[in-house]
Amino acid sequence: MIHFVILVSRQGKVRLTKWFSPYTQKERSKVMRELSGIILNRGPKLCNFVEWRGFKVVYKRYASLYFCMCVDQNDNELETLEIIHHYVEILDRYFGSVCELDLIFNFHKAYYILDELLLAGELQESSKRTVGRMIATHDRFVEVAKEEASSIGTFIAQVRM
């Protein structure tokens, strides 16, 4: 299973973290420090796997951002690597050629999308279209609620007039 997902920039700034196994706050920061230290220092043409504390961290760099997933030692590494890519493709489709800035300002969206892709540390949906549909539905719900709120606001304003 995937124990956690970390997105970290080349400068070591954390852009997203998702924990599927229970780690305390302290452990979380320690893990992030340790791993960004290891992964950011790895050269370019090396393999995408790092052995770390009895686990394996599968990572891939996209432009300035490193996507890392920590899995069990016996898990299928390449499978995990392609889950990362799958996530990136979905982000790309949603934002339209995604860049780090998109993820910074819309980090909450990155979370929604991840929640449609992974659950309980396992892959939940492998169809990009299905994930896309789900996210669109969320967005619509939020939109509808906002409109309702504003129309009530206008309504109240009108009544007061």
């Binding site: 700034k13 954390v14 852009r15 997203l16 973290t17 998702k18 924990w19 229970p22 780690y23 305390t24 706050q25 920061s29 992030m32 790895r42 050269g43 043409k45 090396l46 393999c47 995408n48 796997f49 052995e51 030692q73 299928n76 590494e77 390449l78 499978e79 690597l81 392609e82 889950i83 890519h85 799958h86 934002f95 339209g96 998109d102 300002f105 819309n106 980090f107 909450h108 969206k109 979370y111 929604y112 929640d115 659950l119 309980a120 396992e122 892959l123 939940q124 949906e125 492998s126 169809s127 990009k128 279209r129 299905t130 789900m134 969320h138 719900f141 939020v142 609620a145 906002k146 709120a149």
Partner: protein, 1019 residues
């Protein structure tokens, strides 16, 4: 789409980004946290929108790595908001901020449950997602039934059901009891018929977790998994959106193959054939393509297929295909594939016998040891370590040594440990071993643990041929300008003991030896000085005729250190000084160290303990428990600080004869001296492998010996008998502290009904059996498998056959090499009918531990039966012709294990008594027939009739008839044993299940011919 849609949040994020340095950022964050905190305090004034915004800000700050110790309540409270946007934020932020052990989560359980059982599909999804990500035990207990309902009901849409599947997986991981194995197996099988691939993928993850714990309950899922795999591999009916770079859901393929790896075998021949076809297709049909993602996906599938083939232990041909593929992979440039190639080759070493083929790739693997990528180097090191044996040890160890000088620090310790172990395990000759260890110390002294140099000292001491060589080598290293302190220790020790053997060589006079060692003294730590002092004393003792100049020099040193602040150094200096003034007596006291008792290498033990071999994990755990006490002992270094060679490993059977003199001398000294009276002369009996101060090791080092005052010296040599007695490790008392794995009695019972399986297992050994039976003869092959990485010795197997068997066991080797399996065929000839059981008296020695078990062999009466169908026309005349005892016996049996008639029929069939349906007009009765074979009876037809009482299943009437009175009686008793609930074997927890009928007092031949006497004896 660069904006979040929440202005305040975007502004805050921009501010943070504009901060010039960490300090500014902290200030900005603190300001924001203060702001959020005040806003949360008067919550009434907060609109839902604002609340949402602040909670997001909190998450953002948290993500940056700052502590956020408030506001959790607000996040959790959003979960119960009525509107979607707030609820969503509540769920997402809560599942990011809190972990499963957080108290606040408990507050939310009710709301979450309402969302799960409610009608709103979107809310259901949100709730399932949170529970699936952070649900703990409490969630498992209160929500599992609801989640199960969502998963199996077809009235919910796939988007809900796939989340329910994974949510249930989470809850199952937290508390396996939430899934009731019996009820769930069928449902799981139904879920595998699911059309929606999203739901199927999630369900497959669930299945993997379930079968990993209870594969036997989920057999019905096996053929379905194979079907799914077939469908995917052939790309039949897979929607376009579920293909990934042209590959039908690689993830589902991987998961399906993962699930299949948890079933021990695939028995159904058709299923097996289809599975192998698919695997063959994957192995052969995966090509390297340009597109990285396609390549990765197809290779993810390929590597999983490899793992499955290894698991199924497929035919040789497929296995060699796998090795060929891996051989190709470890040579490619793509680092991922190379890494995985090495990793899987190592795994393959563990499951099958492919060492020879893998050896062909040795050069390539060594190249990977120099790869720029540490991940790959690690894999290469592991693989080299695993594939090393006598034939290639020299090459591999030399490569490792060479690599040691350039290896990064992170790997040096592991590397030197592995090199030392391989050198010890596979040394073609001992001088090579000494070379390797000295080189190791020379090149990576900092990373060489004490265990390593203790071990080489032990070898040299115990091997006289090796001593001059080792001394010469040590002398060579001492000439080097800057040597590591460990090297000083080991060479000083060796020179002290064996330097005199070099006397005639140039540069090796006592004086020269002394000065070359003494040069090192100023640079060493206080821990090493005592060793040097002992060495001086020994050199001094060996100087014949005495050399006044050397004597003065050495005495001056002792004089100097007599007032050293370190008490150990001070004591040694004082004692050596006093002793060396006594002249001749010195020779006895400083005599060469006695041989060390054979020990298991502490290094190998260390390696074993760290080995992450799942097969051995339970064994390792067991050992850890057993040694935990001993480890405490090890830490208490002898207060006198003698070179702790005595901590090398455990004491095995001491080879007393060769060094009894030394022992008695030293032990007598120490005993009279009273200093060692607290040392228990026996190792703690529970200890198997722990480093322990054995009785022989205690008296060894010079420091201890010289503690005795000169006045005791006259006592030397006296009283040696008493000492001998005390020194002999009471091996017998340590017998059987190894616990068997599994229940011996149950294993035996299972083997009575089938022909192959495990007869006995403990942390060290597994004994399997495979039997073939033909008429009155049988061949049982015993498979003795050593599970350890060190050999099992003194292996002995004695068969105690009952009088009705002629048994012949082929030669059992005395030693089983590490991780090897030996096969010992056992021929059985059945002379007469009897229920008596043959017993295998099996023993071996592991470490200093003698393990002895007595095991009943499943050569039981029913193995000589051949089921034979009988028609009504044959049955009745035969039945009538055998009228009454002793050829036909009838008995009312009580206390029968209650079972339905069909089950009883199955039991009889599995005992090779063929149930002939419809022969008996009464449906409550069973009639069975079989042919029995033995040398005396030849083929003999047996008929059995069982009349059951539907009102009371615990009793029945049984009638057995055959042409031989003994056979009739024995068969009747045998069937009775099987039917009655009384366990046949006493289930002793200990390894020596007081081997039930140790060939039950075999009735004298006369009794056999007299069924009456026998009857009396048995009833």
């Amino acid at each position: 789409m660069a904006l979040s849609g929440m202005r305040g949040l975007s502004v805050f994020i921009s501010d943070i980004r504009n901060c010039q340095n960490k300090e500014q950022e902290r200030l900005r964050v603190d300001k924001e946290l203060g702001n959020v905190r005040t806003r949360f305090k008067n919550e009434k004034g907060l609109s839902p929108y604002e609340k949402k915004k602040y909670v997001w800000k909190m998450l953002y700050i948290y993500m940056l790595g700052y502590d956020v110790d408030f506001g959790h309540m607000e996040a959790v409270s959003l979960i119960s908001a009525p509107k979607y946007p707030e609820k969503q934020v509540g769920y997402i932020v809560t599942s990011c901020l809190l972990n499963e052990n957080h108290d606040f989560l408990r507050l939310a359980i009710n709301t979450v449950r309402n969302d799960i059982i409610g009608r709103n599909e979107t809310f259901q999804c949100l709730a399932l997602t949170m529970v699936g990500n952070i649900g703990g035990r409490e969630f498992a207990e209160s929500l599992a039934p609801d989640v199960q309902k969502l998963l199996i009901s077809s009235s919910y849409r796939p988007l809900v059901r796939k989340k329910a599947a994974l949510c249930l997986l989470r809850l199952y991981r937290k508390n396996p009891d939430v899934v009731n194995v019996d009820g769930w197996a069928d449902r799981m099988a139904q879920l595998l018929d699911e059309r929606d691939l999203g739901v199927l993928t999630s369900s497959m993850s669930l299945l993997v977790a379930l079968v990993s714990n209870h594969h036997d309950s989920y057999w019905s899922c096996l053929p379905k998994c194979v079907k799914i795999l077939e469908r995917l591999a052939r790309n039949q009916d897979i929607p376009q959106e579920y293909t990934y770079y042209g590959i039908p859901s690689p993830w589902l393929q991987v998961k399906t193959m993962r699930a299949l790896q948890y079933f021990p075998t695939v028995e159904d021949p058709n299923t097996r054939r289809s599975l192998f076809e698919v695997l063959q297709r994957i192995l052969m049909g995966t090509d390297v393509v340009k597109n990285v993602n396609k390549n990765n996906a197809s290779h993810a599938v390929l590597f999983e297929a490899l793992a499955l083939v290894m698991h199924l232990d497929a035919e040789k041909e497929m296995m060699s295909q796998c090795v060929a593929l891996l051989g190709k992979f470890i040579a490619v440039r793509e680092p991922n594939i190379r890494y995985l190639g090495l990793e899987n080759m190592t795994r393959m070493l563990m499951v099958t016998d492919v060492q020879d083929i893998i050896k062909r790739h040795q050069a390539q693997i060594i190249t990977s040891l120099k790869d720029p990528d540490i991940s790959i180097r690690r894999r290469a090191l592991d693989l080299l370590y695993g594939m090393c044996d006598v034939s290639n040890a020299k090459d591999i160890v030399e490569e490792l040594l060479q690599y040691l000088s350039t290896a990064d620090f992170a790997m040096r310790e592991e590397l030197s440990l592995k090199a030392a172990i391989l050198a010890e395990k596979f040394a073609p000759d001992l001088s090579w071993y000494v070379d390797v260890i000295l080189q190791l110390i020379d090149k990576a002294g900092d990373f060489v643990s004490d265990d390593i140099w203790f071990r080489v000292v032990q070898f040299v001491t115990n091997n006289e041929d090796l001593q001059p060589y080792a001394a010469a080598k040590a002398r060579e290293y001492l000439d080097k300008p800057a040597i590591h302190e460990t090297m000083v220790k080991v060479s000083a020790y060796i020179i002290g003991e064996f330097g005199h053997l070099l006397a005639r060589r140039p540069g090796c006079s006592p004086k020269e030896l002394f000065s070359v060692i003494h040069e090192k003294l100023p640079a060493v730590s206080t821990y090493t000085i005592p060793i040097l002092l002992s060495t001086y004393a020994k050199i001094f003792m060996h100087t014949q005729p005495p050399d006044a100049e050397l004597q003065n020099q050495i005495w001056a040193i002792f004089n100097k250190y007599e007032s050293c602040i370190d008490v150990e150094i001070q004591q040694r200096a004082a004692e050596y000084l006093a002793l060396s003034r006594r002249g001749a007596a010195l020779v006895d006291i400083l005599a060469e160290m006695p041989k060390f008792p054979e020990r298991q290498s502490a290094l190998i033990k260390k390696a074993e303990d760290t080995e992450v071999d799942t097969a051995e994990q339970s064994a390792i755990k067991l050992r850890a428990q057993q040694t935990s006490n001993a480890l405490v002992v090890t830490d208490q270094r002898p207060a006198n600080g003698t070179p702790p060679v005595n901590q090398l490993g455990l004491v095995k059977i001491p080879s007393m004869s060769s060094n009894a003199d030394h022992n008695s001398t030293d032990q007598a000294l120490s005993q009279e001296n009273g200093t060692l009276s607290t040392v228990d002369p026996q190792p703690a009996s529970a200890d198997l492998l722990g480093d322990l101060l054995g009785p022989l090791a205690i008296e060894g080092p010079p420091g201890t010996a010289v503690q005795s005052q000169p006045s005791v010296i006259p006592g030397v040599g006296g009283d040696s008998n008493a000492v001998d007695a005390a020194a002999i490790v009471p091996v017998g008392e340590e017998q059987n502290s190894v616990q068997p794995i599994g229940n011996i009695a149950e294993r035996f019972l299972a083997l009575c009904l089938k022909d192959s399986g495990v007869l006995y297992e403990d942390p060290n050994i597994q004994i399997g059996i495979k039997a073939e039976w033909r008429v009155h003869q049988g061949c049982l092959v015993l498979f003795l498998g050593n599970k350890n990485t060190s050999p099992l010795v003194s292996v002995q197997a004695i068969i105690l056959p009952p009088s009705h068997f002629k048994m012949e066991l082929s030669l059992v080797p005395d030693t089983i090499p590490p991780r090897a399996q030996v096969q010992c065929p056992l021929e059985v000839v059945n002379l007469r009918p009897s229920r008596d059981v043959a017993v295998l008296d099996f023993s071996y020695k592991f470490g200093n531990n003698m393990v002895n078990v007595k095991l009943r062999l499943p050569a039981v009466l029913n193995k000589f039966l051949q089921p034979i169908p009988v028609s009504a026309e044959e049955f009745f005349p035969q039945w009538r012709s055998l009228s009454g005892p002793p050829l036909k016996l009838q008995e009312v049996v009580r206390g029968v294990k209650p079972m339905p008639l069909a089950e009883m029929a199955n039991l009889l069939n599995s005992l090779r008594l063929m149930v002939c349906p419809a022969l008996d007009p009464n449906p409550n009765n069973l009639v069975a027939s079989t042919m029995f074979y033995s040398e005396s009876t030849r083929a003999m037809l047996c008929l059995v009739r069982i009349e059951t009482d539907p009102a009371d299943r615990t009793q029945l009437r049984m009638t057995v008839s055959s042409g031989d009175p003994t056979l009739t009686l024995e068969l009747k008793e045998f069937i009775k044993e099987q039917l009655c609930s009384i366990p046949i074997a006493p289930r002793a927890p200990g390894p020596v299940s007081p081997a039930h009928p140790v060939a039950q007092p075999t009735s004298p031949a006369a009794a056999l011919t007299d069924p009456g006497a026998m009857l009396a004896g048995l009833l």
